[in-house]
Amino acid sequence: MVSYILRRILSTLPVMGIVALFVFSLLYIAPGDPAAVIAGDQASPADVERIRQSLGLDRPFLVQFGTWLWHILHGDLGTSIFTNLPVSAMIAQRIEPTFSLMAITLVLTILVAVPLGVAAAWKAGSWVDRTIMAFAVFAFSLPVFVVGYVLAYVFALQFEWLPVQGYTPLTAGVWPWLKNLILPALALGSVYIALIARITRASMLEVLQQDYVRTARAKGLGQRNILFVHALKNAAVPIVTVIGIGIALLIGGAVVTESVFAIPGLGRLTIDAILRRDYPVIQGIVLLFSFLYVLVNLMVDVTYTLVDPRIRY
């Protein structure tokens, strides 16, 4: 197992190398000019050109790529064109809000979606099942930003229970940290709750028709025991797969959620960097995200061995 994990981690290196080359090339050919953004609307074309030269953006592609790669290999993600801050420092500033949002969303999603899916499967065809599935279709159909605005209107503006925007670090206390994340996590999680509830239901329905479940019922086991010990564990592989995909999708969802709730996370940093053409920041974030994707896939694969002893690497 350990050698498998090491092999998988090593295999991320060529993946990230390909991602790096692809992103660098894409940004190089993409329209847009950070020098024009820096210079401002009133700047003369000559000023824009001077800034472009000072940033080294007038150099040939291979020279720019080589310089960037050399720095990456030395552990240096570069410096933001705009803020003059190290990209690694900017990412470090933004990691906590994004990871906090993703963690709360993930916990919320699993705690709500799995029981809902199990209940729907258990009561398949009943009003419970239909209600849960109707909710799932509804939640799946609503864009994250619409859910976000509605939640903010109701719980922040009308009831004044929670803040509309911002982020408080965990070091300031659990409740201050949590209260800024409840609405964003609900908004971001709604789609994933719907998705995982539906997958859980489908997977459970299949398992509940298996002979060993019938045997468990025949020998008089309680319903809770049958559902959560015997059935759910055997239905877990597809659920874990979807949760893994969900984590990857959460990164994309965080971009929208962080914008709606003004959370200073990696999602907003990505949008800001793209709009300004802050190439080093975009490249740094893409590298980080590609590494995270690979890591999540690895964690999913490892989790399979925990829920299904038949799977071994």
Partner: protein, 534 residues
């Protein structure tokens, strides 16, 4: 006990339970009152006001760096860091003396050598500074508080250049900082103004913090825009960047922020209904909408085509697309200068007045020989102002029979594409939309967009000898009457040559909570004199 009190009580108990009573103490009421939370118009992505000339950088920099002179609400430059100035009879030598007691944020005194270095860096980037540099003999420090600017020819607009609020402003920095190449960013933010920049708390894209500088020596006069006594009545100003307007509106209504610089027009009615919020016009100098045509390539290299567009365009259509039906927010602009300012004129603006003349436009197009070649109209969709104008223009061009190649893109792409001088079919462009702060259009000093210097002019590269002649006449004018006469002729020439197309004059709002007072109307948010109660 009512429902809300009960729920807040439960939340409080929950908080205590969740944190084991270890959460950070809340700010006291006094501390909250001394912190002003402000939502700026845009993200403060960099903080060098000479290197990056975006308005948001200028607005933040005005807190941190002081200027030698400052423009007041009557549009006159007033002494700020300067105690006195003398100009020789021939107008060739200016001698300035600094006020005593000026200090930088690192505790060092502000000396003449710092001013010389700061002005040298500024003059390499600013249009008026470049003019000064072109006639400069020498800029030297005479002693610690006196410096001298010797010129080859008189420059009557010296004080305006040093005090203007258009970007880049002549901010005074320590010599070691100001010696940075003007095309590279400064490495540290040691200011000379009333607030210090808290670099350690800066999260670009999210937050910028400014703290009161205890050793700042404000002038005794009443504050007026960038002039007078910059008395800070709060200890700390937090710029909270909220990119989504609906979220910013909700945060203001919820009391999470105190002042929102630029609410979008659509949300203003709901803000006005809130009893805790005041809404007012932000800047009486407003903005001038515009689109620029490329004078280098067909069809807009022919003045008849440019005039055809002017004859057909309805400024009302543009303004309603921008600000809606609130007629108090806009006015037609048959000219290029900011309404209700001393140099405002409508001289030569007949083509922009009255009923729109589509027949005349089509006739002019036919005379030009226009034969249906595509007009590449590059429109940034991520800026509400450019998007709205672009949609109106596309319709206008179709109405007069032009073939529109509508390129919907983002502002970053427009920024690079508009610099391309190649023909539209080879990566260039035919027209793009933008807007100008009214404060930059009160005179020709920093009004790049109106210049007609051809290859050296602003994007679109108009060539107009008549315009340039009158710009120089304004610079040489000895009194207001001469300035007015020059600007009248300038306005007429700019319309005849269609340097660019003004789409109208429009205002915007600002909004703040009622426990904040002292907010002044002006071309940038002025924080001195602003106070807050808990």
């Amino acid at each position: 006990m009512d429902r809300r009190t009960l729920l807040k009580g439960i939340a409080g108990v929950g908080s205590l339970a969740a944190t084991g009573g270890l959460s950070m103490p809340a700010l006291s009421q006094g501390a909250a009152a001394r912190t002003l939370r402000f939502v700026p118009q845009a993200n403060l992505a960099n903080f060098d006001p000479i290197w990056g000339t975006q308005y948001v950088v200028r607005n933040a920099a005005a807190l941190v760096w002081d200027t030698l002179y400052g423009l007041d609400a009557t549009l006159q430059p007033q002494r700020q860091m300067v105690e006195s100035e003398q100009v020789s009879d021939d107008g060739l030598v200016w001698t300035f003396r600094l006020r005593p007691g000026l200090k930088f944020h690192d505790g060092e005194p502000v000396l003449s050598k710092d001013v010389v270095a700061s002005l040298t860096r500024w003059s390499a980037r600013d249009p008026m500074g470049l003019m000064l540099k072109a006639v400069q003999n020498e800029l030297t420090a005479v002693d610690d508080r006196t410096f001298k600017w010797a010129l080859k020819s008189p420059y009557p607009k010296m004080l305006l250049a040093l005090g203007k609020n258009s970007t880049p402003c002549a901010f005074i920095m320590p010599e070691r900082v100001a010696q940075t190449d003007p095309f590279k960013q400064i490495p540290e933010y040691i200011g000379s103004g009333p607030m210090k920049f808290a670099k350690s708390e800066w999260v670009p894209g999210a937050k910028a913090v400014f703290e009161k500088f205890a050793d700042y020596a404000p002038r005794q006069e009443k504050a007026s825009w960038l002039a007078g006594g910059k008395q800070m009545l709060v200890d700390r100003i937090e710029w909270v960047v909220i990119p989504d307007p609906a979220t910013a509106a909700a945060a203001l209504q919820n009391g999470e922020v105190d002042w929102w610089e630029s609410p979008i027009t659509d949300l203003v009615p709901s803000l006005k209904k809130n009893r805790n919020i005041d809404v007012d016009i932000a800047d009486p100098l407003g903005n001038i909408g515009s689109f620029r045509m490329n004078h280098l390539h067909p069809p807009f290299n022919d003045v008849k085509v440019r005039r055809a567009v002017l004859a057909a365009m309805s400024q009302e259509d543009y303004m309603r697309a921008l600000v809606g039906d609130d007629t108090a927010l806009w006015k037609p602009l048959p000219g290029f200068f900011t309404p209700d300012t001393p140099l405002y004129t409508e001289e030569g603006g007949e083509i922009l007045k009255g009923k729109r003349d589509l027949a005349m436009a089509k006739k002019l197009l036919a005379e030009s020989g226009y034969s249906g070649q595509p007009v590449t109209c590059v429109v940034a969709q991520d800026q509400p102002i450019t998007k709205a104008q672009g949609d109106v223009t596309a319709d206008l061009l179709k109405q007069i029979g032009m073939n529109v190649d509508f390129v919907a893109t983002d502002w970053g792409t427009v920024g690079s594409r508009r610099a391309q001088k190649t023909p539209p079919g080879q990566g260039g462009w035919g027209m793009f939309h933008t807007w100008h702060a009214g404060a930059d259009c009160i005179n020709p000093a920093a009004y790049n967009a109106i210049r007609g210097t051809g290859d050296k002019a602003w994007f679109g590269w108009p060539t107009s000898e008549a315009v340039e002649r009158e710009v120089l006449a304004w610079f040489d004018a000895k009194n207001l009457d001469e300035e007015k006469a020059a600007v009248k002729r300038l306005n007429k020439a700019a319309i005849e040559d269609v340097v660019y197309a003004p789409t109208g004059f429009f205002l915007s709002y600002t909004a703040w909570r009622k426990n904040v007072s002292g907010i002044a109307k002006g071309p940038l948010p002025f924080f001195w004199g602003v106070s807050k109660t808990a």
